[in-house]
Symmetry: C2
Subunit: 430 residues, 2 copies
C-alpha cells in the first residue's frame, strides 16, 4: 500500500529527481552505430533494423498506399478528434510566428532581424507502446507553422514491417510526406549524416529511448537537437477549494507515464493534503498501469504542506515543474508570481491531459528543473535569425573614426584598417 508522504515546508525543500545519462557501454554502442551508418549508409540501416526490430525490409520508405490504408483502418471518430486537436495546436502556434523587421534612421542606417525557417527537420517517433499520435502532432506542427519545407519522420517498424495506424494518421494530418521505417540510434545517424536514400536534416526533434537520446547528444553541433527530456513531472498548487479526488486523479495521470515520473502536491490545506493522499491510494488500485504509477508515487510522490500561499508558490518556483496546475481561489491572479514552469494549467477544469492532447499549447515541455531556463517546444525553435546591417556613406563617415579607435583598443589593427580603407579614394570609380 502506498501512502503519500506529507511534508511540512519550513525552509528550502530538496527535490528528488531521476536523470538517466546512459552507461559507458550504451555510449559505446551508440558511437559504433553512428560510425557504421556514416560509413555504410542504407546497408547499415537495414542491417540494424533486422537486428533490433526483427524485420528484413525491402523498402524503408512508407508508401502512400500504407498511409491510405492506415487512415482507412482508423476509427473515424478518433480521426476527427486528432484533426480537431491538430487545428487547435496549429492555431496556438501560429500566434508565435514572427516577421522579419528592419528599421531605418535619418542617416540611412538600416538594421534588422531576418527570420528564416530551417530548411529541413527530422522528427523521431518512438515505436511500440510509446508510439503516441499526440507526440507526432506536437513535434511536427510547430515546424510546419514555422515554414520548414522538408519534414522527415523516422520510426522503428514492428515485426511485420509496419508503423502504427495512429502514428501514420497523425503524420498525414500534420502534413508529413516523407516517412522512413527506421528507429534507434541508426535513425538519428541517418538524419544527421544522410545516406544514399535519406538526405540529412538541420535539426532533429522528438522523444526516444536512451540510445536515441545519446545519439542526439552525439550529433549535436552537426545538427541542432531539441532538449533531451527526462521523466514527466506534475506539481499541483492548491488551496482548500480543490477537490481531493480530482487532484489525486491528476497526480496519477502523471505517475502512470513512468516509474520515475514525479507527482507533487503543494497545498495550504491540511485537509486537502490528507484526503488527497487517501484518494491516491484508492484510485491507484483501479488503474491498469498501477504498477508503474505505484512505483512513481512511492519513490517521487510528495505532498508539501505550506503555511501560506506565498510560501507554497515559492516551493513551486523551487521545483520549476514541467506541468503546474493551480487549483485555488483567484487562480489566474497567481500566474504572474510563477517564475518557473513549463506549462501552467489554471483552474479546476484545466486538468493536465487537456493540454497533453487538445488545447493547443505544446506538450513537449522542459523537465528536470530546466523550466528555470528552457521553454515548451515552439515555433521559434524552427526559425533562425540573421542580423541585417546596412550603413550608408553618411552613417559610415560619422562613425568610422570611433569604430577604428575601438578596434585598436582591442589590438585588432586589421579591423581598424578595414574601416579606414573606405575613407581613401576608391581605386577606380564606382
Amino acid at each position: 500500500m502506498i501512502d503519500m508522504r506529507i511534508q511540512k515546508v519550513t525552509d528550502d525543500i530538496s527535490i528528488q529527481r531521476s536523470v538517466d545519462n546512459g552507461t559507458e557501454e550504451q555510449r559505446k554502442i551508440v558511437l559504433e552505430i553512428l560510425e557504421s551508418v556514416r560509413r555504410e549508409g542504407d546497408r547499415a540501416l537495414l542491417a540494424y533494423t533486422e537486428t533490433f526490430d526483427g524485420i528484413k525490409l525491402d523498402r524503408m520508405r512508407v508508401s502512400e498506399e500504407e498511409i491510405h490504408e492506415a487512415i482507412q483502418s482508423f476509427d473515424p471518430k478518433l480521426l476527427k478528434v486528432l484533426e480537431e486537436a491538430a487545428k487547435n495546436i496549429r492555431r496556438f502556434h501560429e500566434k508565435q510566428r514572427r516577421e522579419t523587421w528592419i528599421t531605418q534612421d535619418e542617416n540611412g542606417t538600416i538594421l534588422g532581424q531576418k527570420f528564416t525557417p530551417l530548411d529541413s527537420v527530422g522528427v523521431y517517433v518512438p515505436g511500440g507502446t510509446a508510439a503516441y499520435p499526440s507526440s507526432v502532432l506536437m513535434n511536427v506542427l510547430p515546424a510546419k507553422v514555422a515554414g520548414v519545407k522538408r519534414i522527415v519522420m523516422v520510426s522503428p517498424p514492428d515485426q511485420n514491417g509496419k508503423l502504427p495506424a495512429g502514428v501514420l494518421a497523425a503524420a498525414h494530418i500534420a502534413g508529413v510526406e516523407e516517412i522512413w521505417k527506421v528507429g534507434g540510434a541508426q535513425a538519428i545517424a541517418a538524419l544527421a549524416y544522410g545516406t544514399e536514400s535519406i538526405q540529412p536534416v538541420d535539426k532533429i526533434v522528438g522523444p526516444g529511448n536512451i540510445y536515441v537520446a545519446l545519439a542526439k547528444r552525439e550529433v549535436f553541433g552537426k545538427v541542432d537537437i531539441d532538449m533531451i527530456a527526462g521523466p514527466s513531472e506534475i506539481a499541483v498548487l492548491a488551496d482548500d477549494t480543490a477537490l481531493p479526488h480530482e487532484v489525486a486523479a491528476d497526480l496519477l495521470s502523471q505517475a502512470e507515464h513512468d516509474p520515475r515520473a514525479t507527482s507533487v502536491l503543494v497545498t495550504t490545506s491540511r485537509t486537502l493534503a490528507e484526503e488527497t493522499a487517501r484518494e491516491v491510494q484508492k484510485q491507484l488500485e483501479q488503474l491498469p498501469r498501477k504498477e508503474i504509477a505505484k512505483q512513481s508515487i512511492d519513490e517521487y510522490g510528495v505532498i508539501y504542506l505550506a503555511p501560506t500561499m506565498e510560501k507554497a508558490i515559492e516551493v513551486v518556483n523551487q521545483i520549476a515543474p514541467e506541468h503546474l496546475e493551480i487549483v485555488a481561489r483567484n487562480a489566474l491572479e497567481l500566474v504572474p508570481m510563477i517564475r518557473h514552469a513549463g506549462a501552467i494549467f489554471v483552474g479546476r477544469f484545466s486538468s493536465e491531459p487537456v493540454g497533453d492532447y487538445f488545447a493547443g499549447p505544446n506538450h513537449v515541455l522542459p523537465t528536470n528543473g530546466t523550466a528555470r531556463f528552457s521553454s515548451p517546444l515552439n515555433v521559434d525553435e524552427f526559425i533562425k535569425k540573421s542580423s541585417i546591417i546596412y550603413y550608408s556613406e553618411t552613417s559610415f563617415r560619422q562613425n568610422a573614426e570611433k569604430i577604428a579607435a575601438f578596434a585598436r583598443l582591442e589590438g585588432l589593427e586589421a579591423h581598424a584598417r578595414a574601416i579606414e580603407s573606405r575613407l581613401k579614394k576608391p581605386v577606380r570609380p564606382e
Copy 2:
C-alpha cells in the same frame, strides 16, 4: 608569400573548417576541476587561480573602488565610444523584447505564452589578449534588456590580481554589479554549482579557451549555455562593383583573429578575384598580426569564382557563414535570397567591424556552418516561455469526451480518468 587560391564553382563546393573538440586529456582535467570546485568551493577556486593565473588572491570579488579606478584610468574619448556602442546595442536588442500574451475564446478558454526573464546569468570574459570590452557589452546587454536581475561576470586576473580597465569599464557601462576574479573551468564550475561566496546561475554565456568550452559542455543541462563558438568566419559576396582593396581589408580583418579563421570571397568577377588576391598579399605584409593572418589565409582562405550571381548566392548558402558581406549592385535586394548567415552586412560601407563594435546587432554569431540552424545571441535566449492554459467549465464539458478518447487511444487510462473525474458531482460543494 601567400597567394589566395581562386577556384571556379562548378558543382557543390566543399568547405574546410576547423573544429576543436578537445583531447581526452583536456576533458579529464576539466572533469577534475569541476569536481574539486563542487567539493571544496572557494578554496578550490583560490588554489586554481594561484596555479593557473599565478596570483594568490585575498579577495575574489572586484570592489567598487577597483571599478572606479579603472574608469578613471581609461581614455575618456574611448569611454564615450564604448558608451555610444552600448547605446546602439541596447536599442537594437530592445526591439527584440516580447510581451506575454493571452487569448480568450467565446467559451471562456484562455491560452497564452508567459515570457519570464531568467533569474540569473553568468558571463565569462577571457583574460589576457583575448579580453575584449566589446565582448562584455555584446554578452551582457541582451541579458540586461531581457530583464535578467542578476548578471555575474567572471574573468581570470592578471599576475597582479587585476582585470583590464577596458573590461571593467565595459562592465560598468553595461550595468554589471557582481564581478569575480576567477577564470577557466573553475569559473564555469562556480557559476554552475555555486560556492560559499558565488551563488549559482541559470545560464552561462561568453567565449573562452578549450577548457572553458569543455567545462560549459559538461555543465550543460544543470544550467543552460550559449553556443560553443568555433573560429571566426567571413564570406564576401561581390560583383564587379566591389573595390579589391576594401574586400581584401575585410578578409584580413577576419583572418587576424585566429590562424583557424576562414575568409572567403565569392564573386562573379574574375578581375575582382585576381585583384583581391593581390591586395591580400600586399596588405598582409603590413599587419602587426601578420603571422596569424597569414596562416589563416593560407589554410582556409579561398576565392570562389561563380558564373552567375544566383550560383554565387547558392555557394554562400552552402557555406552558411558567420559574417556575410554583400558588395554588389542592388545589394539589399539580394538579402531575401540569403537563407543561412549569422549577420548580413549590406553595401560597401558596411564593413564587418561596423557590426563587431558599433552598429547594435550582436557580434556573437553562429560559426562553423551552424547558421543553418542557429542565431546571433539575442534577447530570446535570456527569456523562457511558459504556456498558460485555462479551460472554463463550458470549454471543458464540450471537449472532455474527445480528450478522454484520445488518452485511451494511447493506452493512458489515468489520463482519461483525470478528465472524467471532473464530470462527476463534486464530493463537497465548491
